[in-house]
């Protein structure tokens, strides 16, 4: 088939948003299809959004391919008779973040009018889709709530050469690989290390997106004399190093606040047959990890998290068993490209 994947971007901002498009294109090509990836610049300011949506709507792609896959808001506005939307999230500042400090506009008549205009457009464009998918159950629920539409959860796998992941051992450290930023709560992991009773260690790896947060982590480590037990690798980590740490760690920690999907670190853990330690308010990660099965779900407090770290340190067999379950979890949830490709193309795949 000839497939166009249409996505929106902010030029020169390399977010994880592009990976899903690139990997999906790769998987489609591997399955023998011709793929064009189109990245359309799209503004973020609410006042610029409405006119730009008219522009997207005008794009003449309706008969340019057999199937159009729209990924990232509001690519689904593009017209095509055989359109699949893989919905990642709404224009969050006016929807699920309405009751938060991130709301884009005042909660007055104007803000409400913007929201309703966008809701109407989403209803129209999502409703036109021949197939409607979300990347998580959380987002499926939001689409139900905000748009009254039923979407099918379709979980995004890791792309690239996943054969590089392997398992060497279940060592003595918890590994937390992720962008270092307050919302990922590396600070919580570091604080937990004050309360562990076993020699378990913690390795944090990733680039801080705010220098201050990185400095805060360093400070807490120093303050509580955790230098021997907490390894802060702040900065760019090579893929090879990351794969190696995954292969040797005891388990992976992933502690975001209320994220709307399970995140790639969960999958990296799975590919490395490692358990995932997360917390009860992490959101989408709970769609991947069930407490005691693929990993542990602690309360979002340093002491509860410390107990989880200790427990795995003391019970390597448990760590290994849950690691194996974590590995199996992908198949259970059909987090695999052949399934994703078939569904994105509108084929049945029971």
């Amino acid at each position: 088939m000839r497939v166009i994947i249409a996505s929106t971007t902010v030029p020169f901002v390399q977010g994880g948003g592009r990976l899903i498009v690139e990997w999906t294109a790769e998987a489609l090509r591997a399955a023998g299809h011709e793929v064009e990836e189109l990245y359309l610049p799209f503004p973020t300011d609410p006042r610029a959004v409405l006119p730009a949506i008219v522009g997207l709507r005008a794009l003449p792609l309706a008969d340019a391919a057999d199937r159009l896959i729209a990924i990232r808001w509001p690519a689904h506005v593009i017209r095509h008779d055989n359109k699949a939307t893989w919905f990642i999230h709404h224009y969050r500042e006016l929807f699920d973040l309405w009751d938060s400090p991130y709301r884009a506009l005042p909660a007055d008549g104007e803000g409400v009018a913007y929201r309703e205009a966008l809701r109407r457009i989403d209803n129209l464009a999502l409703g036109e889709s021949a197939d409607l998918f979300t990347n998580s159950l959380i987002v499926r629920d939001r689409v139900r709530e905000f748009n009254g539409l039923e979407a099918e959860p379709l979980f995004p796998p890791l792309g690239g050469d996943t054969a590089r992941f392997h398992t060497d051992s279940y060592g003595d450290f918890i590994f937390y690989p992720s962008r270092v930023t307050p919302i990922k709560r590396q600070l919580l992991a570091v604080q937990a290390m004050r309360y562990t009773t076993t020699p378990v260690r913690l390795v944090i790896a990733g680039s801080p997106d705010q220098a201050q947060f990185g400095a805060d982590l360093v400070q807490v480590v120093r303050e509580h004399h955790l230098e021997n037990r907490v390894d802060l690798r702040l900065g760019w980590l090579s893929e090879a190093d990351k794969v190696d740490l995954l292969a040797r760690c005891l388990a992976v920690a992933y502690l975001p606040v209320d994220e709307d999907s399970y995140g790639y670190p969960s999958l990296e853990a799975s590919h490395s047959a490692k358990a995932v330690i997360t917390v009860s308010d992490s959101g989408g990660a709970l769609e991947f990890v069930q407490d005691g099965v693929q990993g542990l779900v602690a309360d979002p407090t340093p002491r509860s998290l410390a107990a989880a770290f200790d427990r795995l340190y003391e019970d390597r067999e448990l760590a290994q068993a849950m690691g194996a379950a974590s590995e199996r979890r992908r198949a259970e949830l059909r987090i695999e490209w052949p399934h994703v490709v078939r569904r994105l193309l509108g084929e049945e795949d029971r």
Binding site: V10, P11, E36, P41, F42, L59, P60, A65
Partner: protein
């Protein structure tokens, strides 16, 4: 700088302009810029084309320092710092039929809108360049604006070489009606004895090859024409050029200077081209760097005869041809400098 290169996309079709855009991105990055490619569809029907113009007009580009626009309607996108490197306009709007739409075809609204938009975009652009003198001429005639010629550098970075001329004239390039290798083959009916024509290149279509084979059969020039109807590697090509007496390249109204002429010149060999070959006249100056023949077999034959029979003249022409080619400064370094200043 953060630079967005704006080009068209005809989904699932890759052509010269796509290669150019990709190469431009690469070279921009090599020069230390951040560069991304934006591709916009043009559409086919009048309604789709009006939509394409609308989509370009309403595209809101943030976080970009400069836009380099290559084709219609991509270069229409709004940005205060736009440089247009015109590969070509929408020729159907400006050329007479059969290329142009002409009146009463349902495309008139597109032509109207395109003219207005072009006028506005060309005037508002910070600078306007054209990839060839032909394109620059056209845009001056149709839109009354001046474009600086900034030619596209050749594809690959090649190692040219020169050797003493052997007894053949070489015709390179994909075999097609538009490139008129047939004309060179027909010329061999009238050529003086003592040399052969080597035609080397993959046929664009079975018919293109069949025509040439029929001509050779009918004219009985099988012993004077060596036909290599397949893809020719860079190495093979450069080898043929280094040893030929001359290169013959006779396209109809080519837009650019012709990579074949450039390669022959860099191999210090004279080129034969036709008076209606268009852009090749940039490098092939009659009796200076080569011969510009009338587009008929006898004239082409005389040109080939002259260069084969007078190797000293040919050698001098070849040297001047190389100087001419070098003088064009067809380097990516120059292109990037112009587009990013």
């Amino acid at each position: 700088m953060k630079i967005l290169v704006a080009n068209n996309v005809a989904p699932f079709v890759r052509g010269g302009a796509e290669l150019l855009a990709d190469r431009l991105i690469l070279e921009l990055r090599k020069a230390g810029h951040e560069a991304e490619l934006l591709r916009l569809p043009l559409g086919r029907t009048p309604e789709q084309m009006l939509d394409a113009i609308t989509a370009a007009a309403l595209l809101d580009v943030v976080n970009v320092d400069r836009v380099i626009g290559l084709k219609f309607p991509a270069y229409l996108i709004p940005h205060p710092n736009t440089v247009i490197w015109l590969v070509h306009q929408l020729r159907q709007v400006y050329d007479p039929p059969p290329v142009g739409w002409g009146p009463g075809t349902g495309f008139s609204p597109v032509a109207t809108a395109a003219r207005r938009a072009d006028q506005a975009a060309f005037t508002q652009a910070r600078r306007l360049y054209a990839i060839s003198p032909m394109v620059a001429d056209r845009v001056r005639r149709t839109n009354g604006v001046n474009a600086t010629v900034l030619m596209t550098p050749p594809h690959a970075d090649q190692q040219f070489r020169t050797a003493p001329p052997e007894d053949f004239v070489v015709a390179l390039g994909r075999l097609s009606a538009g490139k008129r290798q047939l004309l060179a083959v027909q010329a061999m009916r009238h050529a003086r004895p003592g040399y052969r024509l080597v035609v080397a290149g993959a046929p664009d279509s079975p018919e293109a090859l069949a025509q040439i084979e029929r001509e050779i059969e009918a004219a009985g020039t099988g012993d004077r024409v060596e036909l290599i109807p397949r893809f020719v590697s860079e190495d093979e090509k450069l080898d043929l050029l280094s040893r030929c007496a001359a290169s013959v390249y006779l396209p109809v109204d080519e837009d650019s200077y012709g990579y074949v002429c450039y390669e022959a010149a860099m191999s210090r060999k004279p080129s034969i081209t036709a008076s209606d070959s268009g852009g090749t006249l940039t490098l092939v100056h009659h009796l200076h760097t080569g011969i510009v023949a009338a587009p008929d077999p006898e004239s082409v034959a005389r040109a080939m005869d002259d260069l084969v029979l007078h190797p000293e003249v040919a050698r001098e022409m070849g040297q001047r041809a190389e100087q001419c080619a070098v003088g064009l400064d067809l380097s990516w370094h120059r292109v990037i400098r112009e587009l990013t200043r």
